[in-house]
C-alpha cells in the first residue's frame, strides 16, 4: 500500500532508486530476522543442553586434592570438579533446600559454598582454625559449623555466608570443648555434643542473632559423634570413653538424657580403635536402629520403641559407618583400618550378614541413592568410587576419583539431620 502511494508522487528515476533502496532495506530486515531466528534457535539448543535439575547430583570429596567432584546419579557419570577448597580431611557436606548449592565443611575451618549447576565456588570463608562438620537449619537460612579450634559452633547466613552467631562451647570458665555430632532439629534448632565436656547442647535459633542454649550435662565420657532419627525426635550421641550411648528425646527435653546400650562390651576385650566410628541418621531401619560397637567387631541393634538392645551382629571388623538402605531392608557396614577393604551387608529381618564384598583398600564411605537401588562406595587407595546394585550386591559402574572420601547426594537437602 505504501509503495503505491510513493509511486503516485515521484518521478520514474526516483522511483527506481526508491525501489532499490526498499529492496535493500527489506534484505537487511530479512537478514536481521534470520540472524535473530538463528540466535534464538542456538539459545534454545544451548538451553536444552544446559538446563537441568540438581536432584540427581552428588558431591564426592577428593580429600587430599582439596576438591569436590560433582557427579550425576541417573547415568552415573562425572559432571565436573571444583577445587581450591582447602584441607578436606574429614570433610562433610550439606545442601541448600533448592538443591543447587553444596556447603562443604573442611578441616582447616573453611566453609565453602559450591554451585552444582555452574560447577563454581561461589563463596568461601575460613571461619575457624579447625572445623569438623556442619548442618543447615530447618528453614534453610542458617548454616552452622562445629569446630575443634576454637571449640564451639559458628552460625552463618546461608546466602551470603556472613556470620550470624557464635556459640562458644565454654563448659567451664576459660575452657572450650571440641564439638562433634552437630545436627539440625525441628523447631529451628541445632543439637551437638561436647567431646571434652561430656555434654549435649541444644541451641534454639528462632532469633538467629540470639541463640538460646540448653545444656545437658554428664551424658557420658567423650561423645564422638551424634545422630538424629529421621523423624527428628531422638538425638543420640555415641560415647568413645565408655560403652553406651546418650539418648535425648527432643519431644520431651525436660526428661533429660538417658543412657542406652550401657556396658555393651562388658567382659570383652576392647580393641584399639584406629578409626573413629561415625553416626548418621541412616542408622534407623524400620523399628530398629543399627549402630557401631566401639572397639568391637559388632553392630548393635536397638528397638526404637524402648531403645533396648535386641541384637548384636558379629561383623568383619570395627564398624565405621552403619547405613540402612532407605527402605530399611538392608544395612551396609564398612570398617576401620586395617580391615577397611571390606563391606558387609546385613539383612535387617534376620540380623544376619548376607554378603561380604571386597571393594579394595580404604573403603571410607557409602551413600545410597534416594530410593536405594544403588549404593556408591568410595575406595580411597584405589582412587575409585564403585556403584553397586543393592539387590544383587553386584558392581555396576566404577568412576575414578582422587583419594575419595565422603559421598553426599543432593537428596540430603530434604532430610532432617543430614
Amino acid at each position: 500500500m505504501k509503495i503505491e502511494t510513493i509511486r503516485l508522487n515521484v518521478s520514474s528515476g526516483e522511483r527506481h532508486r526508491l525501489r532499490t533502496q526498499i529492496h535493500e532495506e527489506l534484505r537487511v530486515v530479512a537478514v536481521v530476522l534470520l540472524m535473530l531466528l538463528g540466535l534464538g534457535f542456538a539459545t534454545f539448543v544451548q538451553a536444552a543442553q544446559t538446563l537441568r535439575g540438581s536432584g540427581d547430583l552428588a558431591v564426592i570429596v577428593e580429600r587430599t586434592s582439596g576438591a569436590v567432584q560433582i557427579v550425576e546419579t541417573s547415568g552415573n557419570s562425572a559432571v565436573g570438579r571444583v577445587g581450591g577448597l582447602g584441607d578436606l580431611s574429614h570433610a562433610s557436606v550439606v545442601y541448600s533446600r533448592d538443591q543447587r548449592y553444596a556447603y562443604v565443611f573442611g578441616r582447616d575451618g573453611g566453609l565453602s559454598k559450591v554451585d552444582l549447576l555452574t560447577q563454581r565456588l561461589v563463596k568461601r570463608v575460613i571461619q575457624s582454625g579447625n572445623g569438623i562438620g556442619g548442618a543447615i537449619s530447618q528453614d534453610g537460612r542458617l548454616v552452622a559449623v562445629s569446630n575443634y579450634q576454637p571449640g564451639g559452633v559458628r552460625v552463618f547466613d546461608a546466602t551470603s555466608l556472613a556470620p550470624v552467631a557464635d556459640i562458644a562451647a565454654e563448659y567451664a570458665p576459660g575452657r572450650l570443648s571440641k564439638v562433634v555430632g552437630l545436627v539440625d532439629a525441628p523447631g529451628q534448632r541445632f543439637v551437638f555434643s561436647l567431646w571434652d565436656a561430656g555434654e549435649i547442647w541444644m541451641a534454639d535459633m528462632r532469633e538467629p542473632n540470639r541463640p538460646v542454649v540448653r545444656r545437658f550435662k554428664d551424658i557420658g565420657k567423650h561423645p564422638y559423634d551424634g545422630l538424629i532419627t529421621p523423624d527428628g525426635r531422638y538425638y543420640i550421641a555415641g560415647l568413645f570413653g565408655e560403652d553406651g550411648m546418650a539418648l535425648l528425646d527432643l519431644w520431651h527435653p525436660d526428661r533429660g538424657v538417658r543412657r542406652v546400650l550401657s556396658g555393651y562390651g562388658k567382659g570383652e576385650q576392647v580393641l584399639p580403635v584406629y578409626k573413629m566410628p561415625h553416626l548418621e541418621g541412616w542408622a534407623v531401619a524400620g523399628e530398629r536402629a543399627f549402630v557401631p560397637a566401639v572397639g568391637h567387631h559388632a553392630v548393635l541393634v536397638m528397638d526404637t520403641h524402648d531403645w533396648r538392645e535386641v541384637g548384636r551382629i558379629p561383623v568383619h571388623g570395627q564398624p565405621v559407618f552403619v547405613m540402612a538402605r532407605p527402605d530399611g531392608r538392608q544395612v551396609w557396614v564398612n570398617f576401620a583400618h586395617p580391615r577397611n577393604d571390606t563391606v558387609q551387608v546385613i539383612d535387617t529381618d534376620t540380623l544376619q550378614v548376607v554378603n561380604t564384598l571386597k571393594p579394595g583398600k580404604g573403603v571410607l564411605h557409602m551413600e545410597f541413592e534416594p530410593r536405594g537401588e544403588e549404593v556408591w562406595v568410595s575406595v580411597r587407595d584405589a582412587d575409585q568410587v564403585q556403584v553397586y546394585d543393592t539387590a544383587s550386591a553386584r558392581l555396576r559402574t566404577t568412576l575414578s576419583a582422587a583419594k575419595p572420601s565422603g559421598i553426599f547426594m543432593s537428596a540430603r537437602a530434604h532430610r532432617i539431620g543430614l
Binding site: 578441616r107 569438623i132 579450634q149
Partner: protein, 104 residues
Amino acid sequence: MRHLIALCGLSLWSLIGQAGPLEAAREAELDNLLIQDCGSCHGSRLSGGLGPALLPDRLEGKSRAMLAQVIRDGRAGTAMPPWGPLLSDADIAWMVNRLLAGKE
C-alpha cells in the same frame, strides 16, 4: 622339605627386611598411612583435629624415644590407639623421623 627350606628362607629374608632400612615401597605405604589414617584424627596436613597437631614446631623438645613410645603404645585415656600391633620398630622409627623433619 623343599617347602620348609623356602619357608625358612622367606622368614629369614623378612627378618633382615625388618632390621635394615625400609624398602621404598614400605616408605610409600607408611607415608600414605600417615596422611590418610593418622590424618583422620590429626588432619591430613597434620595440623590437628581430634588429636593434636604433629607439625615439627609442635614436636620440638620431645624425644624420639617418647614419640616412638606414644606411637607404639598409644595414650591411655585418649583416642590415640597403640600402633605397635600394626607397625614394626623400624616403621615407627621412620615415622618419628618423618614427623620431626616435616614434609619433604
